[in-house]
C-alpha cells in the first residue's frame, strides 16, 4: 500500500529519472569537461596536466592545418548542400512523373541511406584503387589511370561523389513528397493561364517545396560539417590533409598527435561554427517562410 502511494505520488519523476541521470553523466558532464580540457596542455596519456588559459585557442588561429581543414569542410559542405538540393530536385521531379516502375526506382534510390557509411567508404576506396584506374587505362585517359583519391586535384570531387552517392537517398524521398504535396488543380490552372515551365516552377511549385528544401538543407549541412566516417574510411584525410574535415582534425589531434587539450579546443570551435551557421539558417528560413 505504501509503495503504491509512493509511485502514484511521484510517478512523473520516476518516469523521467533514468534519462535525466544518463544525460547528466554521459552528455553534460563530458560537455563541461571538454571545455575544461580545452584550457589545458593535457596530452591525454599522462595523469597530470597544467592549465594554460586560452593558449590552445590562440594556437588554433595560427594553425595552418586548421585553416586548411576549415576550408575543405566548408567547400565540401557547400558541395553536399548544392548537390543534394539540385540533383535531388531533378531526380525527384523525374520520379514524380506518371511513369511505370516508380516503386522500383524509389526502392533502389533510397537503399544507400540504410547502409553503413564506413562500408560504403571501404567499398569505394577499393573501387578507386582497382576499378577506376582500369577504366582509365582502357580509355587511355592518363589522370584517370591512377587512384583519384591520391591526387590533390581529383580527390575533392571523388569524395563528394561518394558522399552524394549515399547522401542523395533521403533528399530524393523528402523532395518527392514535397512535390506530391502540390495540388494538381493549381498546376493545371497555371498551365491553362499560360504560365511557362519556368514560371510554373518558380512561382507555383517552389513555395510548396520550400519546407522540404529547407529540411534537405539542414540535413546536408549537418552531415557535411560533421563528416567523419566516410572520410576516415575513404582517404583518412589525405592526400596531405587535403580532405581532412574538422571532425577528423579533432580526432587526429587527440589520438594521433596526443594533443588532447588542443583537440578539445578545436571541438569547441567546431561547436561555435555550427551554432553560428544554424542560427543564421534558422533566421533566414523564418524570414522566407511567410
Amino acid at each position: 500500500m505504501n509503495k503504491q502511494s509512493f509511485v502514484s505520488k511521484y510517478w512523473a519523476y520516476i518516469f523521467v529519472a533514468i534519462p535525466v541521470l544518463l544525460q547528466l553523466i554521459f552528455f553534460f558532464y563530458p560537455l563541461v569537461n571538454g571545455v575544461i580540457y580545452s584550457l589545458t596542455d593535457w596530452t591525454g596519456l599522462t595523469r597530470s596536466f597544467n592549465f594554460i588559459g586560452l593558449d590552445n585557442y590562440v594556437k588554433i588561429f595560427q594553425d595552418q592545418a586548421f585553416f586548411k581543414s576549415l576550408g575543405f569542410t566548408i567547400l565540401f559542405t557547400i558541395g553536399l548542400v548544392v548537390g543534394e538540393i539540385v540533383i535531388g530536385l531533378w531526380l525527384a521531379s523525374l520520379l514524380n512523373r506518371k511513369i511505370k516502375a516508380v516503386g522500383f526506382f524509389r526502392t533502389w534510390y533510397f537503399f544507400p541511406a540504410v547502409l553503413s557509411t564506413v562500408t560504403i567508404g571501404l567499398i569505394f576506396s577499393q573501387l578507386f584503387n582497382y576499378g577506376v584506374p582500369q577504366i582509365g587505362e582502357l580509355l587511355g585517359i592518363k589522370w584517370l589511370s591512377s587512384n583519384l583519391l591520391f591526387q590533390e586535384k581529383t580527390v575533392f570531387w571523388s569524395v563528394l561523389f561518394v558522399a552524394l552517392w549515399q547522401g542523395l537517398a533521403m533528399p530524393v524521398v523528402i523532395l518527392l513528397s514535397g512535390l506530391q504535396s502540390i495540388p494538381e488543380d493549381i498546376k493545371e490552372a497555371a498551365a491553362i493561364d499560360g504560365a511557362n515551365k519556368q514560371q510554373q516552377f518558380f512561382q507555383i511549385e517552389l513555395p510548396f517545396l520550400l519546407p522540404s528544401i529547407s529540411m534537405v538543407f539542414i540535413l546536408a549541412m549537418k552531415s557535411g560539417l560533421t563528416a567523419f566516417d566516410l572520410i576516415y574510411s575513404l582517404t583518412k584525410g589525405g592526400p596531405d590533409g587535403a580532405t581532412k574535415t574538422l571532425g577528423l582534425l579533432v580526432y587526429d589531434n587527440a589520438f594521433t598527435n596526443n594533443q588532447f587539450g588542443y583537440a578539445n579546443a578545436l571541438a569547441v570551435v567546431l561547436f561555435v561554427i555550427i551554432t553560428i551557421i544554424s542560427v543564421v539558417q534558422i533566421t533566414l528560413s523564418k524570414k522566407y517562410e511567410v
Partner: protein
C-alpha cells in the same frame, strides 16, 4: 502528347543511369567476394573464371560470426532499452510540461543534445568511459541509450501530445489502475506507430555506427562491431583484399533483407525521423 512521351523516355534513361551508378559498386562488391585477389586486381569489373568460396572460408575462420553477433547484441539490447525507457519519460514530460516549469526545463535539457555535434563531447566521453572501466559492449549500449534520448524523446513527446490526449488517462483512471499499469497496458500500446519509427531509426543507427565503437572499443578486438571489424580487416592482409569484399557482403546482406521486407516503413520512418 508526343512531346510528353519523349520526355518520359528521357526520364527513364536518366533514372536508369542513376540506378546503374548506384548498383554497380554493390554488384562489384558481391562478385569480387567470389573472386581470388589475383582476379580482383587483374580484371576488377569482370566475372570470375571460377566462383570461389575461399574468401568466405577465410572470413569465417577469422571469426566474423563473433563480430556479427556483437553487432546484433548491441543493436537488440540498445533498441530494447530505448523503447523501454524513453517513451515512459516522454509520457511524463508531455503530461506536465505545460503546467510545471520543472518539466519544461527537463524537456529542454533532454533534447538540447540534438543541436550539439557528437565531435564536441566525444573526447571527454571516451576518457570518461575508460575511467569507469566501461569500454565494452555493455558500456556502449548505455551510450546508445543516452545519445538516442534527444531525438527519440522529441518524437515521442510530439506524438503523445497529438495522438494520445489526456482524456485517455482519465478514462483509464476510472478502472482504478495504478499509473504504471495504466501506462504499460493502455498508453504504451497506443504509441505503436511511433515505436516502429523509433525502432527503425535507432536500429539502423546502432548497427551502422562507426565512430562510437572506434572511440570506445578499439583496444579490445574481441568487442569489435561489424563496421569496426570491416575497417580493421581491410588493413589486416595488406594487398589481399578478397576476404574484405566478403566482409562487406556479410555486413550488407542482413540490411538488404530487412530493407526489402520493411521498405515502406523504413523509408517513411527514416524521413519522418529526420525532421529535427
Amino acid at each position: 502528347m508526343k512531346n510528353k512521351k519523349q520526355n518520359n523516355i528521357v526520364a527513364y534513361v536518366v533514372l536508369m543511369i542513376g540506378i546503374f551508378l548506384m548498383l554497380i559498386p554493390l554488384a562489384v562488391t558481391i562478385i569480387s567476394s567470389f573472386k581470388t585477389t589475383k582476379e580482383i586486381t587483374g580484371n576488377f569489373f569482370g566475372l570470375p573464371e571460377e566462383w570461389t568460396l575461399a574468401n568466405y572460408q577465410r572470413l569465417f575462420s577469422d571469426g566474423v560470426s563473433h563480430y556479427f553477433l556483437n553487432s546484433a547484441f548491441l543493436t537488440v539490447v540498445s533498441v530494447g532499452l530505448i523503447i523501454l525507457v524513453i517513451p515512459m519519460a516522454a509520457y511524463s514530460i508531455a503530461r506536465h510540461m505545460d503546467r510545471k516549469k520543472a518539466f519544461a526545463f527537463m524537456y529542454t535539457m533532454l533534447i538540447i543534445g540534438m543541436f550539439v555535434p557528437f565531435q564536441v563531447i566525444m573526447l571527454p566521453m571516451a576518457k570518461l568511459m575508460s575511467n569507469l572501466g566501461m569500454t565494452n559492449l555493455v558500456g556502449l549500449t548505455i551510450l546508445y541509450l543516452t545519445y538516442a534520448i534527444p531525438q527519440t524523446l522529441f518524437l515521442y513527446v510530439g506524438y503523445i501530445k497529438t495522438i494520445v490526449p489526456e482524456e485517455m488517462d482519465e478514462a483509464a483512471a476510472i478502472d482504478g489502475a495504478g499509473r504504471f499499469t495504466m501506462y504499460s497496458r493502455i498508453i504504451f500500446p497506443l504509441m505503436k506507430p511511433m515505436h516502429a519509427t523509433v525502432l527503425i531509426i535507432n536500429a539502423l543507427w546502432v548497427w551502422n555506427d562507426f565512430l562510437m565503437p572506434l572511440l570506445v572499443l578499439n583496444r579490445d578486438s574481441s568487442t569489435w562491431t561489424m563496421p569496426l571489424f570491416q575497417y580493421n580487416y581491410q588493413g589486416m592482409y595488406f594487398s589481399d583484399y578478397g576476404p574484405s569484399f566478403a566482409s562487406y557482403v556479410v555486413g550488407i546482406i542482413p540490411i538488404l533483407i530487412v530493407y526489402l521486407i520493411f521498405q515502406k516503413n523504413i523509408i517513411s520512418g527514416m524521413t519522418s525521423g529526420s525532421v529535427k
